[in-house]
């Protein structure tokens, strides 16, 4: 009787191991690049979508296939992302705009059709694009705020916040961007190469005026920021629009496009 049980267990173990081996040699058509991704484990990885590339890679040393594999390598660009979304400076060449930029839709217009405000200080031939460059933090922090300094303006109304992006001249006066600690902490989540984020704290400072440019808005209206992230390199794009409510630009809509490389904390 004892011998039979041991044999059964041995056979079951062999079958399990073979199954795992077969699975590991199988064609994973979801994302073959995942195996080359950095193996740093973050706290967010335990909640990562199980369809993420690394989550499907079995650990052949695991004694029980029904147990979650807590030792497997995970993708640092999946789950709640905490780190710096490094901003690549915008550029205009041959009529094409690359990198990070800001545009503003006039009241009554649409993001698709404009009309967009031409910024006389734009470096682009299409002056509706105002190019953005990284601030002293290198870009947008996810998982932390980047508050505006106190005071937020100089004597002529130029915005002074410079940690997120460098202040940008717009209609002769520099606007600055920061994330307001009075609102929700900026958070961005990666899943299957896409990004979604709560940037409700994102705020622009211009000509002594403070304009929430969050996505969604702090009251939950509007849509969240969305984008893409390369699961191998962390190269990302992040886009959002935000209606200005109140103030001198009431009814206008800010259009933000950030791109660069995400660097996780630690």
């Amino acid at each position: 009787m004892k011998a039979t049980r041991s044999t059964t267990r041995l056979l079951a173990g062999l079958v399990g191991a073979l199954a795992l081996f077969a699975a590991s040699c199988g064609d994973d058509d979801k994302d073959t690049t995942a195996t080359t991704a950095p193996t740093e484990v973050t706290s967010a990885d335990t909640t990562a979508d199980t369809t993420a590339p690394d989550a499907t890679v079995p650990d052949t040393a695991a004694p029980d296939t029904t147990m979650p594999d807590t030792t497997m390598a995970s993708n640092p660009f999946e789950g709640a992302l905490s780190g710096v979304f490094g901003v690549v400076t915008g550029a205009c060449a041959d009529g094409a705009v690359t990198g990070s930029y800001f545009r503003m839709v006039q009241a009554g217009g649409t993001v698709e059709a404009g009309p967009f405000i031409p910024n006389g200080d734009s470096a682009c031939a299409d002056t509706t694009y105002s190019l953005l460059a990284a601030g002293t933090d290198g870009g947008l922090l996810s998982g932390d705020w980047q508050a505006a300094p106190e005071p937020a303006f100089d004597a002529t109304g130029n915005g002074l916040a410079d940690s997120l992006v460098a202040p940008v001249k717009f209609f002769g006066v520099s606007f600055a961007a920061a994330t307001d600690p009075a609102e929700a902490m900026p958070s961005i989540t990666g899943a299957d190469g896409t990004l979604t984020g709560d940037l409700s704290a994102f705020t622009a400072y211009y000509a002594n005026g403070v304009f929430n440019q969050g996505a969604p808005k702090p009251d939950g209206s509007g849509t969240a920021a969305t984008g893409t992230i390369d699961p191998t390199t962390g190269a990302f794009t992040l886009d959002w629009t935000s209606l200005i409510v109140g103030g001198s630009f009431d009814g206008f809509t800010g259009v933000w496009h950030l791109e660069g490389v995400f660097t996780p904390n630690g």
């Binding site: 006039q106 009241a107 009554g108 405000i117 031409p118 910024n119 006389g120 200080d121 002056t127 002529t156 109304g157 130029n158 209609f171 002769g172 006066v173 211009y206 000509a207 002594n208 005026g209 109140g246 103030g247 001198s248 630009f249 009431d250 009814g251 206008f252």
Partner: protein, 320 residues
């Protein structure tokens, strides 16, 4: 018969008191009056001669720059630096300003004129008690009148003496009549009404959007003049010093934006507040909302007092 008439007078006073107390709710004053207070507070920084003069100075400065921008275009086109088409295509922002300036100037000047003309009216309204308190100026005396009238009625029905209550009622009526005089409402309220009338054309969403549009035109032109046109002039051998108004416009533009920006914000943010105030009964009528019910209550109390025997004669009648 005398008691019936007295009771009728007291009932009427009770109804008037309740009506006065209920008026703020009927006119939605609890929600609207504080919005009016916010508007008065928000406009305070701009309702000064100094501020309006500063804005007018900027308008004069821009006007001079627009005149020079026309001259500059002619110079660059006649000098062969650009063809007219090239200039107009490349510097469409400048063209938008030179072509649209007359309308922008008229619109902005109208705004400043309205603010300037209402400086005294604004000061008069600003000197009134805080708007948020307005509803309570009706509720408190109205309830006091209603309570005193009800007590007098109760006493009359019970056959008890209530001359003190009637005197109190008369006093409340007289106080209500006196309140508008104490707060100089007969002079200030019509000034408030005049200001509301004058501000009505400028405190609309459309008008605010027009002003926003003016600054896009101005900003677009200033940027092109500074970044492209003036450098092109210098490159073609011209002298920027020949166009001092344009140079001054560009030098002052950040200040112009920074000073006008909060004023436009104030207009924009107060469109709803203005509409709330505008939906209230005319300011000119407000003093009468105190005087008429106050006089009525005082008169009704007087009628009741006349129909009520003095306590002494009452005692005399009752004495053996």
């Amino acid at each position: 018969m005398a008691d019936r008439g007295k009771r009728w007078a007291l009932t009427a006073a009770l109804v008037v008191g309740m009506g006065v107390a209920a008026a703020p709710a009927a006119f939605q004053m609890f929600s609207r009056a504080p919005l009016g207070g916010t508007m008065i507070d928000d406009f305070r920084p701009y309702m000064s001669n100094e501020k309006i003069d500063t804005f007018r100075g900027y308008m004069t400065e821009i006007d001079a720059a627009v005149t020079e921008a026309d001259q500059l275009r002619s110079s660059l086109v006649e000098g062969g630096t650009f063809t007219a088409d090239e200039y107009d295509t490349q510097f469409f922002g400048v063209g938008n300003l030179t072509n649209g300036w007359a309308a922008i100037d008229a619109d902005m000047t109208d705004l400043l004129d309205r603010m300037d003309a209402n400086m005294a009216n604004y000061a008069a309204v600003d000197a009134l008690p805080p708007f948020a308190m307005f509803p309570w100026f009706f509720v408190i005396p109205g309830l006091a009148i209603a309570v005193v009238a009800a007590r007098c009625l109760w006493s009359a029905r019970a056959g008890r003496a209530h001359r003190g209550g009637l005197w109190a009622l008369a006093g409340l009526g007289i106080a209500l009549v006196a309140a508008p005089f104490a707060f100089q409402m007969f002079s200030r309220a019509p000034m408030g009404a005049e200001m509301i009338d004058d501000f009505r054309p400028m405190m609309t969403r459309d008008r605010v959007q027009n002003v926003q549009g003016h600054f896009i035109t101005l900003g677009g032109a200033e940027g092109q003049l500074r970044v492209a046109v003036m450098p092109a002039l210098v490159e073609s051998g011209g002298d920027a010093a020949d166009y001092p108004a344009i140079t001054q416009f560009s030098t002052d533009w950040p200040s112009i934006v920074t000073e006008f920006n909060p004023m436009i914000a104030t207009m924009s943010d107060n469109v709803d507040n203005f509409q709330a105030v505008d939906a209230l009964p005319s300011f000119s009528l407000f003093p009468w909302f105190f005087v008429v019910p106050g006089a009525l209550v005082a008169g009704l109390a007087a009628v009741s007092l006349r129909r009520t025997s003095p306590p002494t004669s009452h005692l005399e009648t009752d004495s053996p």
